[in-house]
Amino acid sequence: MIAAFRAEWVPLLRPRLLAGTLGAVVACAVLGTVLTFFSVGHRDFDGDPVTAAALSRPDGLLQGVQAVSILLGVVALSVVAASLAGDHSHGTLRNQLVAQPHRARLLAGKLLALSTFVVVIVAAATVVSVGLSFLLAPTRGVSTAAWSGGAGLAELGSGFVNLCLGSLGYAAIGALAAILLRGPAAAIAVALAYALPVEMLISRIYRPAHSWLPVQLMQEIATGGAAYAMPYADALLRGVLYAGVMLLLTLVIFRRRDMTA
């Protein structure tokens, strides 16, 4: 599994992919942070007023990057789906399976490497957003005092963990789609179509579904339970359960499947 983990970094670290994903998440982080600070005095996406006082609270530092947690999730989902399904469609998977016939170990190594990659890109987005927040705060009359205090650092830590968990949840959907569909374009398209419009429509039409739909739960976790009135612990438990089931399915299919790619 360690060999599979190490080997997966070879394609992940190629400059184009690295530049592309980091560019995408950094752009997302900048967008979210700038929009958050410029909406002080206006209302946000959900219609709640954004105030300088709210942003000055210890959890204000991560508001910018949390605003684009969906986009981070989308990037995570796409990277994982493209990478796993790409192995199928390029035919590289059969070489890898000859080199490491233990399929569970191969997949576990790959998923571990991809998860680490997701954490790295979330970290990059967080760093950029935090830096930018400190730059923008004085211009909008937001106080940064609470951010760097003990409570602020605790919020930063837990907020980052939540962002990572949420993004990893999206990534699990990408992994399942990749193993099921075996082509990067199809996997990304189907996974995103499900994650965004389909779930959004269902939860719009039937509000209680919100607390049971996987992507809504991932969203809930990513924002630390801010978006919808439901206990964070419940959301976390359900989200982890969903992700676990998806990964288990991925593993079972991957182990049993005939490799015709």
Partner: protein, 392 residues
């Protein structure tokens, strides 16, 4: 003048539907080989896709240390068989052993096996070297010693002559370079068994020679090589062992010489005067030989009237050639040409497999002429263009 052409009656009346059982080529040269002496051993290996049997009760035995050729028309089931041996496909039925370990447990033997299946497949955005590096890491080559791993990658790149272009992106490689990289990847683990699916597909003549030499050298060093190919002259030249399948079923396995020895040798005689053909045939028939007459195109320089020459084919070994010549001479028949024809693998293959693409057999049968002969292959056979293009 190709004596293996479809105009040859012996060939034309060979129905593709019933070759295996009736053919003298169906034999099992390695029947006595014990399982422990074989690198690859299967019994009743079968793969079904829906109702189609891609591989049908295959009993393979490839001796250890052999350089074994795996041949069969397109769609015969070669790649499917190789995939099952590598644990990529689950057999629908049957069982097998590779290097003494059951094929249901590929992790027990694949660390000693190098393989390339259905063409070279690598990450297009990575260089050849990085692609090999990834596989080397996955195989645990060199452990955590980066230098040791890189040395091995360098070695195999050198072996296939790809050293100079190793740092270019895989997507920028020519077909032949991709193929070389595939072979390099197969050599990476320093294998005891090398399984290659059409390794020479897309290589230039010099490249084919290089690979032939490389395979010979590897087999000489004790590695078992099981290589599928459509280049039958290559197979005939380099392989000591042969497995021939069609429609998923075994047609022959054993030594190439055994297969060719079972073929009937022929002597082709062309009389100077066309009118003598029938008399010559009668003469040879009186000697107790099986004889056929058919028309062949003469050399292009011949005038239109002489465009087609009657060729008398006597089924007789080469040793009788002088005797037949004397017979003709005594009867006052001058021969324009007298040629012994030794059967080669390509001809034997075409005859045994029915000259028709495996996948097209069914449709071709529907199009059979009333006399049971098969219409000209019309691109379905294994013409050189077809070999290159559609092989993977």
């Amino acid at each position: 003048m190709n004596s293996g052409s479809a105009t040859d009656p012996a060939h034309a009346h060979h129905r593709p539907a019933d070759p295996p059982a009736a053919s003298p080529a169906v034999m099992n040269g390695a029947a006595g080989v014990a399982r422990s002496d074989t690198a690859i051993w299967t019994r009743g290996l079968t793969k079904r896709y829906g109702t189609r049997r891609a591989v049908d009760h295959l009993d393979l035995q490839v001796p250890r240390g052999a350089l074994s050729g795996f041949v069969g028309p397109n769609g015969a089931g070669k790649s499917t068989t190789l995939r099952m041996l590598l644990g990529l496909l689950r057999p629908s039925a049957g069982h097998g052993h590779v290097l003494g370990e059951p094929i249901t447990e590929p992790d027990r033997y694949l660390h000693r096996v190098g393989a390339m299946i259905e063409g070279p497949t690598f990450h297009p955005g990575l260089s050849g070297r990085r692609n090999l590096d990834q596989l080397a890491i996955l195989r645990g080559i060199g452990g955590w010693h980066r230098a040791r791993r890189q040395r091995r990658v360098e070695e195999v790149l050198g072996q296939v002559g790809l050293g100079e272009r190793a740092d270019d992106r895989f997507s920028s490689y020519s077909l032949g370079m991709k193929q070389r990289l595939g072979i390099a990847a197969a050599l990476l683990p320093d294998p005891c068994l090398l399984i290659l699916d059409e390794p020479t597909n897309g290589l230039d003549p010099a490249g084919i020679r290089e690979i032939r030499a490389l395979l010979g050298q590897l087999a000489g060093g004790g590695i078992t090589v099981f290589v599928s190919s459509h280049l039958l002259t290559e197979v005939e030249q380099i392989c000591d062992h042969l497995v021939m399948i069609n429609g998923g079923r075994m047609l022959f396995q054993g030594h190439v010489t055994d297969l060719l020895a079972a073929e009937d040798p022929r002597i082709l005689l062309i009389p100077e005067h066309d009118a003598d053909a029938r008399r010559l045939a009668g003469l040879l028939g009186d000697e107790g030989l099986r004889v056929e007459i058919d028309l062949r195109n003469g050399p292009p320089s011949a005038s239109a009237a002489q465009g087609r020459w009657p060729v008398v084919t006597a089924h007789a070994p080469e040793g009788l050639a002088a005797h037949l010549n004397r017979l003709a001479m005594h009867a006052g028949i001058t021969l324009r040409s007298l040629r012994a024809h030794r059967p080669n693998l390509e001809e034997t293959f075409l005859r045994v497999t029915g000259e028709i693409d495996g996948d097209l057999v069914r449709s071709a049968q529907a199009g059979q002429e009333p006399d049971g002969s098969v219409p000209p292959p019309a691109g379905a056979g294994l013409d050189p263009a077809h070999r290159r293009g559609g092989a993977t």
